[in-house]
C-alpha cells in the first residue's frame, strides 16, 4: 500500500503544473500574492482568466472569489522526496513554495499584486494596477488609472501608462517612459529617469542617485526634481513657459537657455522662461543641475 502511495506521489513530483481557466466580468479585480517566484500577467482578448503555475517544492495554490475580488494564493505544504540510504521517503514540506504564476487576464482587469522575493511583470493591462514587492523587479507595460508600483530592492520600470503613476524603489532605479498623467517617482539608492512624459504634475526624488526628466512642461503645471547626492537633468521644449527655481548646496548649474536671474539667495536662484506660468523646482544637495533644450 505504501509503495502505491510512493509511486502516486512520485508521479506528481518534482514540478507540479496547475492550469485553470474561469470566466470574469468587468469591474472585477484580481488579487495575487506570492512569497517567492514570479507573478507574470499578460492581457488577452477574452473575458476569462487563465492561471498557470509552475513551482518547485511542494504546495498548491488556491483561487477564490469574494464579491468582485478574485484572490490567487500559493498554499504551503507538499510532499517532498528524500533519500535515506537506499530507501526513498516522502516528507511533508511546510516551507514557502517557489511559485511562478503565469496569468492571462482581460485588459480591463484591475490588479493587486504583492510579493516578497518576487518579480512582477505586467503586459498590456489597461486598468488600475498595484504591484509591490520586497525583492524583485516590477515591470509594467500599460496600465491606466491609479498605478502604485514599488520594489524595496529592485528595478521599477513603467512604459506606456496613463493615469496617476506612483513608482518607487528603495535600492534600485526607476524608469518611466511614454507616460501620461500625474507622476510621483522616487528611489532611495538609485536613479530616477522619466522620458517622453506628458504630464502637468511631476514629483521626482532620490537620496543617492541622478534624476532626469524629458517631456512636456504645461502652463500652470508643476514639476519638482530633488536629489541629495546626484545630478539633475531637465530637458524641455524651446518655447516653455516656466518659473524655474534652482537650489544646489554644493554643485553647479548649467543651461542652454539664455536666462536672466529674477532672484538669487544663498545657493538658490530663480529665473523665468516665457511667461513663467509653470513652476519648476530643481534641487540637489550635492550634485550638478542641468537645464537643456529638448
Amino acid at each position: 500500500m505504501s509503495a502505491f502511495f510512493a509511486v502516486a506521489i512520485a508521479v506528481l513530483l518534482p514540478v507540479q503544473q496547475t492550469d485553470t481557466t474561469f470566466a470574469v466580468r468587468q469591474g472585477m479585480r484580481l488579487d495575487v500574492r506570492n512569497q517567492e517566484g514570479e507573478i507574470r500577467i499578460t492581457a488577452w482578448q477574452r473575458d476569462q482568466i487563465r492561471v498557470t503555475a509552475g513551482r518547485t517544492g511542494g504546495g498548491t495554490f488556491s483561487v477564490d472569489q469574494s464579491g468582485s475580488i478574485l484572490r490567487v494564493r500559493p498554499e504551503r505544504g507538499g510532499w517532498r522526496e528524500s533519500t535515506s540510504g537506499t530507501r526513498r521517503r516522502f516528507e511533508w514540506d511546510d516551507s514557502d513554495p517557489v511559485v511562478d504564476f503565469d496569468i492571462m487576464v482581460p485588459a480591463y482587469m484591475a490588479l493587486s499584486l504583492r510579493g516578497v522575493e518576487t518579480d512582477i511583470v505586467v503586459d498590456g493591462v489597461i486598468a488600475e494596477i498595484t504591484a509591490e514587492t520586497v525583492e524583485g523587479v516590477v515591470d509594467v507595460r500599460g496600465g491606466a488609472g491609479i498605478l502604485t508600483l514599488s520594489s524595496v530592492e529592485g528595478l521599477v520600470r513603467v512604459d506606456g501608462a496613463r493615469g496617476r503613476i506612483e513608482a518607487s524603489s528603495g535600492d534600485g532605479d526607476v524608469f518611466i517612459r511614454n507616460a501620461q498623467g500625474d507622476i510621483n517617482a522616487n528611489s532611495v539608492d538609485g536613479d530616477v529617469s522619466l522620458s517622453d512624459i506628458d504630464s502637468r504634475n511631476v514629483t521626482v526624488s532620490t537620496v543617492d542617485g541622478d534624476l532626469s526628466y524629458s517631456g512636456t512642461i504645461y502652463d500652470r503645471g508643476r514639476y519638482r526634481l530633488s536629489t541629495h547626492d546626484g545630478n539633475v537633468t531637465l530637458s524641455v521644449p524651446e518655447n516653455v513657459n516656466a518659473t524655474v527655481t534652482v537650489t544646489s548646496y554644493d554643485g553647479d548649474f548649467q543651461t542652454s537657455f539664455p536666462i536672466v536671474l529674477r532672484e538669487s539667495r544663498q545657493r538658490r536662484f530663480s529665473f523665468t522662461l516665457g511667461d513663467g506660468s509653470a513652476v519648476v523646482e530643481l534641487e540637489s544637495f550635492d550634485g550638478d543641475i542641468y537645464l537643456r533644450r529638448r
Binding site: 469591474g27 472585477m28 509591490e132 525583492e135 524595496v152 530592492e153 535600492d171 498623467g181 532611495v188 504634475n201
Partner: protein, 221 residues
C-alpha cells in the same frame, strides 16, 4: 455630478468602502479632474500622517475604578504590550472631507508649533499653493519615535525576509542616515536655510516611507 458630490465620496474611496462601480466612477473622474485628484492626494497624505501616529495608552488606567462603579464584568480590550498581544482595536481613520482637511490643518499647526517658512510668494505664480514647511524639535522627535517603532517591527519581521534583502534594506537605510547627517550638519552651519530645513524633513520622511513599506510587505507575507 458636482465637484462637491465627488469630493464627498473621496473618504470612502480612500478607505476602500465603495462598490466596484462607484470606485471605478471615482477613479475615472480623478483621472480627468486635476482639482479632485489633488484633493485626493492631499487626503491620502493626511491619512498617511494620521496612520503614523502612535496608539498611546493613557498614563493613568481609569478602567478598574469605572468597572467597579458600574459593576462591569465584560473583559476590557487587550492593549498591545510587552507580551506582544495585538490590540483588539486598531485605529481606523475615517473622516469626511471637511474633517480631514481640518485635521490636516490642525496637524500641521500642532506639529509645527513654530516654524512657517516663507516661500517668498513673489516667486510663485498665482493659483499654486506651496505647502508649509515644518521643522522643529517636536517634529524631529515624532519622526525619531516613528522610525524607532518601525525599525522594531522590521527587526521582528526580519526572519520572513531573505538575508540579502535585509542587507539591502539596511544599506538603503544607511544611505538615508548619511544624507540626514549631512543635511543636519549643513543646517547647523546655515540654520536659516529654507532649502536645508525642507531637505532634512523630506529625507527623514523618505526613511519613514521606506520602513513603512518594508514592514507592511513583510508583515503581510
Amino acid at each position: 455630478m458636482t465637484h462637491q458630490n465627488w469630493t464627498h465620496q473621496l473618504s470612502e474611496y480612500l478607505d476602500g468602502e465603495l462598490l466596484p462601480e462607484q470606485r471605478a466612477a471615482v477613479e475615472a473622474h480623478l483621472a480627468v479632474c486635476a482639482g479632485c485628484a489633488r484633493t485626493a492626494q492631499d487626503l491620502r497624505r493626511v491619512v498617511r500622517r494620521a496612520s503614523a501616529l502612535d496608539d498611546r495608552r493613557p498614563t493613568t488606567d481609569l478602567w478598574p475604578g469605572i468597572a467597579q462603579r458600574i459593576g462591569a464584568s465584560v473583559p476590557r480590550p487587550v492593549a498591545a504590550g510587552a507580551s506582544g498581544v495585538r490590540p483588539l482595536f486598531r485605529r481606523r481613520v475615517t473622516f469626511t472631507v471637511p474633517q480631514l482637511m481640518a485635521a490636516g490643518l490642525a496637524a500641521l499647526v500642532i506639529a509645527g508649533g513654530g516654524v512657517w517658512i516663507d516661500r517668498t510668494a513673489s516667486n510663485q505664480p498665482a493659483g499654486i499653493v506651496v505647502p508649509p514647511i515644518v521643522v522643529n524639535a517636536a517634529v524631529s522627535t515624532h519622526y525619531d519615535r516613528a522610525v524607532a517603532d518601525l525599525a522594531g517591527i522590521l527587526e521582528a519581521e526580519r526572519e520572513h525576509l531573505d538575508p540579502k534583502t535585509v542587507q539591502a534594506i539596511e544599506e538603503s537605510l544607511a544611505v538615508i542616515d548619511r544624507a540626514i547627517q549631512q543635511a543636519r550638519h549643513a543646517l547647523r552651519a546655515d540654520p536659516e536655510s529654507e532649502y536645508l530645513k525642507r531637505h532634512l524633513e523630506e529625507t527623514t520622511q523618505q526613511k519613514l516611507t521606506l520602513l513603512r513599506r518594508v514592514t507592511s510587505l513583510a508583515s503581510a507575507s
